[in-house]
Each structure stands twice: as structure tokens, then as C-alpha cells.
């Protein structure tokens, strides 16, 4: 059974009385332990697709089966539970909470866990060690470089042992060294058996993936997985 099955997913926005079809009927399957890049120019709908895959948004129509469960019509609190347990997010702008230390940021998903997690603090420390930030645990985001912040974000995405890591332009704000580190880390995680889906418009970054899905005008135009 595939991890993700999208069938004719459409997403229509109303902006100032104008309807915009961000996704115009996307169907695709992604299996467990795949390493996928979603690529396309800006406005192609790749971010919208990412949001729907990550249960941050619901499709206007179509069916989204996640781990064999239809999640397209779930209520917001049910989607929140799916995000907490199965989705690890990495964003372009890192999205760490500025008032918290690196360690507290990594532990944040624990606050919303629907079932108790044992030794959460130790696990967060191990994750930070794993991404090479053992000495930076007490630092706040402002005291860290972009690359370090993004590695904190990756550690946070792993906190709940999600099925998938979703990364939205994870290297977009980084210099080439930082970008290199982040991509290497994602690759390493993939080799450890994680499913990874990331969005990028950068061909070099996209080329690192094992499968590239190209989106244009809300439709899949190239899918190397087919």
C-alpha cells in the first residue's frame, strides 16, 4: 500500500471575487521511504500541493488517502493530530519561535502530542546532537546562523517520529554551504529510512532527489516516478 495516494485533487481560491485554480486535478502516489522533489516555477501550485500533502490545508475536491485513511474531509482538530504524529515540517524561513532556546523549539511538538512521549527531553537532546548542534542547545534562534537554525528545524521535524518530512524550499534562505549541509542531512535521513518530500525551484537542489515531480499551472507535467 502506498503512503500517499492523491486522486484528482483540486484547490480553488477566491481572491477578490476572482477564482484561482491553484491545483487543477493532481493525481499521484508516493511510497514509503521515497525521496521526492516537487519542482516548478512560482505560482505553479507546488506550495499548495505541499500544504495539502502536509495536511496544513484541505483540497476543494478530490481524495487524499494517507496511510490508507481518507484525510480530505477531516476537521481541523483531526488534521492537527495527523500533523503532530505523522508530519515533520521544515520551512524556508526556519519558523522557530524566537523566544525559545533551540532545545525548547525541538521539544515544542511534545506540547501538542495526543499520546504521552517518554524521555522527550533526552530525545530532543539526541536529535540536536544528531544534527551537529550539541553545543548550541541553550541558544536562541537569533544567536544562530541560518544553517544552524534550519538544522534545529530539522531536529524539531523528527521529534515525533513522523512518517514523512515535508520541506518547503528548505535551502531557499541559505548560502551554498548551509544549503549543502541541509541537503546532506536530508539525504542522510532518507538513507536511515525516512520518507522525504521537498519543494524547490532550484534545479541543482532538485537534482539531489531520487524522484522529481514537476508542476505547472496546477498540473503534474513530469513525474519521474511513473
Amino acid at each position: 500500500m502506498e503512503l500517499i495516494q492523491l486522486t484528482d485533487i483540486r484547490k480553488i481560491y477566491m481572491i477578490g471575487g476572482v477564482t484561482i485554480e491553484a491545483l487543477a486535478g493532481v493525481s499521484l502516489d508516493i511510497g514509503a521511504q521515497e525521496f521526492v522533489a516537487i519542482m516548478g516555477p512560482s505560482g505553479s501550485g507546488k506550495s499548495t500541493l505541499m500544504h495539502i500533502l502536509g495536511c496544513l490545508d484541505s483540497p476543494t475536491s478530490g481524495r487524499y488517502m494517507f496511510k490508507g485513511r481518507d484525510v480530505s474531509g477531516l476537521r481541523s482538530d483531526e488534521l492537527a493530530a495527523v500533523r503532530n504524529q505523522d508530519m515533520g515540517f521544515v520551512f524556508q524561513a526556519y519558523n522557530l519561535l524566537p523566544q525559545m532556546s533551540a532545545l525548547e523549539n525541538v521539544m515544542l511538538p511534545l506540547s501538542y502530542a495526543t499520546k504521552p512521549v517518554r524521555d522527550g527531553r533526552r530525545k530532543a537532546e539526541e536529535l540536536l546532537e544528531h544534527v551537529g548542534l550539541k553545543d548550541r542547545m541553550k541558544n536562541r534562534p537569533v544567536e544562530m546562523s541560518g544553517g544552524e537554525q534550519q538544522r534545529v528545524a530539522i531536529a524539531r521535524s523528527l521529534m515525533m517520529d513522523p512518517s514523512i518530512i515535508m520541506a518547503d524550499e528548505p535551502t531557499g534562505n541559505l548560502n551554498s554551504k548551509g544549503a549543502r549541509e541541509v541537503i546532506d542531512l536530508l539525504k542522510a535521513l532518507h538513507e536511515e529510512g525516512k520518507t522525504i518530500i521537498y519543494v524547490t525551484h532550484d534545479d541543482n537542489i532538485g537534482a539531489q532527489a531520487e524522484r522529481v515531480i514537476r508542476i505547472r499551472d496546477g498540473l503534474v507535467v513530469v513525474d519521474e516516478g511513473d
Binding site: L56, R83, F89, N95, L96, S111, Y112, A113, M160
Partner: protein, 403 residues
Amino acid sequence: MDLRDSYKNATRSIAGARMRSFLTMLGIIIGIAAVILLMAVGEGSKRNILAQIQGSGSGNLYLTPGAQSGILSSGRNRTTRDTGAKITMDDLKAIEAKVTYPIVVSPANTMGITVKRGNTTMAGSGIFGTETYFEVNNLTIESGRPIVASDVSNRTRNVVIGANVSSTLFPDVSPVGQLIRINGMSFKVVGVTATKGQSLFGNSDNAVILPITVGEKSFGMQHDRISMTTIKSVNPDDSGAIVKQITIILERKHGKVDFSVLDQKALTSLFSSTLSIFTTLLAAIGGLSLIVGGIGIMNIMLVSVTERTREIGIRKALGARERDILAQFLIESSLLSGIGGIIGVVFSVLVADLIIQRFVPTYVTTSSVLLAVGFSIAVGIFFGVYPARKAARLRPVEALRYE
């Protein structure tokens, strides 16, 4: 999200914007202080007045002309000219003759007077009474003698002066036997009363007590109208029965109830209920400022929600449900108002005891403190609900996109 986490988040966010949090709390602090201080003044005045009633002699009854229709219309300042209702010496004679319990009747009229000796002038109150005035009002004579029956019957210009009048006009010599001028007329001081302080119907220390018959003769007072009669029940337990007898006697004589007779118990409950309304009114005025403080909280929470839209988006992406976000902002707003409330309580108790107490009597009741703190937290929750719901309902995608 467990409560300890939420609490920690809220304190961190409040501490993160100290100045803003303090200014927001200030609205609540002022509101709470207003409620507690106004109630303390109201309660203090109430207790003070009730204590004066208790101290005015437990067996005393007060007879005034005009039917009782409330505290404001039945006091010593009531003018009876308009209604025609009056109490006369003949009425009092009838009461003395017919009441079957031992009583002492003390009629009195009062007016503001000017007292002068040499170049010293002071304003005081003139009490026109009889020989029974001293006994009924628990006044003792410090030196000289009181007004006696012959002073009243002969309309002699003999007066007894209060302790303050004595010390003001006679700082160096004994006043007894000296002459003073009252409203331009010459009177002889025959006695001085001991200091008694403020009582329910004025301050006898600032008073000059004159024979009642002199009032009509020399001060232009109306013929045979007694504005305030104090009747002392020798045995305090009789007072209830005496009120009934006096009512029957005067009603039969006047043909209607155009007078009021109150015993101490009736007076206490009359004042008590009126003063409670007064205190409630004061609390309500304080409560208004608390509502203004609550609007301040709502305002700042709305700003906070907007500023932290991205944080809300991040938390939602990590699995926060609507109720988690709702709880986070509600805890923050109620913590703001709760801390403000506690500071307000401490501040107002200190101000009440250390400052206001010097000018007017205050009394901070436990119930006013509980009411104020409870109300402040309620204000925080009430005014926090709208911003918190706004935050909780944000869609994660839109919140994450917010710059």
C-alpha cells in the same frame, strides 16, 4: 498542551513585553483599586455612622415631625413649614403623661450661630433644649452647672458651652460666669461640657446649649415647634413598646401619622440599608473603570494575536488544536488581569490604611477583595475570549504565510 506549559508560555510572553504588559495591567490595577477603595470608604462610613448610632444611647427614641419616608427626609434638618406637621410641647406633655414606662423627654431645636468673645469669633451650632438634654445625650459637665428647669421657665440668658467653644473663646480664663455674645446678644456662660466628639446628630463640642424658650424669644424660631425630640427609655428593653405607645398617643391626638418615631434598632436598619445602597453604587462606579481596563486587555490581546500570527501558524503546523491556541491566549489574558488584580488589591489596601484612613474612615472587607479579584479574572477571560477565538480559528496556511 498541559497547563504548566501554557502557564510558562503566558508568563514568558508577558515578561517579553514588560512595558506593554505593565500598562495593560495598570488599567486593571486602577479599576481594582477604584472598586476596593470606594467600597472601603462606603463601608467605613457605614460602620462609623452605625457605631455612632450604637453610641448614642441604646434606649433612645427619636421623634421628629413629618411622616417617615426615608432617611433623607426625616433628619434633624427637616423643615416642617411646608407640610404643617409639627410636634408641640403639648404633644410631649401628653407623651410624658400617658406612656406607662419610665422615660425622659428631651426636646431640642438647632440653628447655626455665631459666638463671639472680645475679638474672637467662631461659628457653632446652637442647641435649644431643656434640663433633660444632658442626661438623654450622655453629656457630662466639666465645670459649672448644666441648664436647669428654672433657666427654661424663666427664659434666662444662661448657656452651657462645648469643650471646643470653651478652648477657643477662653484659652486663658475659666469661662464659667463670663459673658459671650451669640448672634450679637449677650449671654452668660454657666457651664462647660466635657469633650464627647462627633455623634450622630452633630458635635456637641462645637455647640452652645441654650434654654429652649430663648430660641423663640430671641432667635426668631417658630412658636412651639420642636424639630427633634429625644426620648430616653430608662429601661432600654422597653423601647419597642414605647414606640408603639407614642405612635398611638400622637396619632389619636393629631388624627394622622404626621410624625416619625424611631428607636435605635429602626434607625440602625434604616441607615444600614441606605448606606449599603451607597456602597453598592460606589462599587458599581469602580466596576466601570474595571470594564475600561478590560477593554485595554482586549485591545492589547488583539495586537498580540496579530503580532504572533506566524507563531500561531507554527504551533498549528506542529499539531496545536484550536483549543490549545484558545487556552494559550485566554491564560495569558486572565494572567494579565489576575496579576493586575492582585497588585491592585495590595496597592489599595495600603492606600486605604496608610493614606485615606487619615481623612475618612475606611474599612476593607474580605468580600470586597474577593469580589475585586474574581471580577478582574472574569474581565480577563471575558475580554480575552474574542482575541483568543480569533487566534484559534486562524488557518495554518494563512498564519504561516503572514509576514
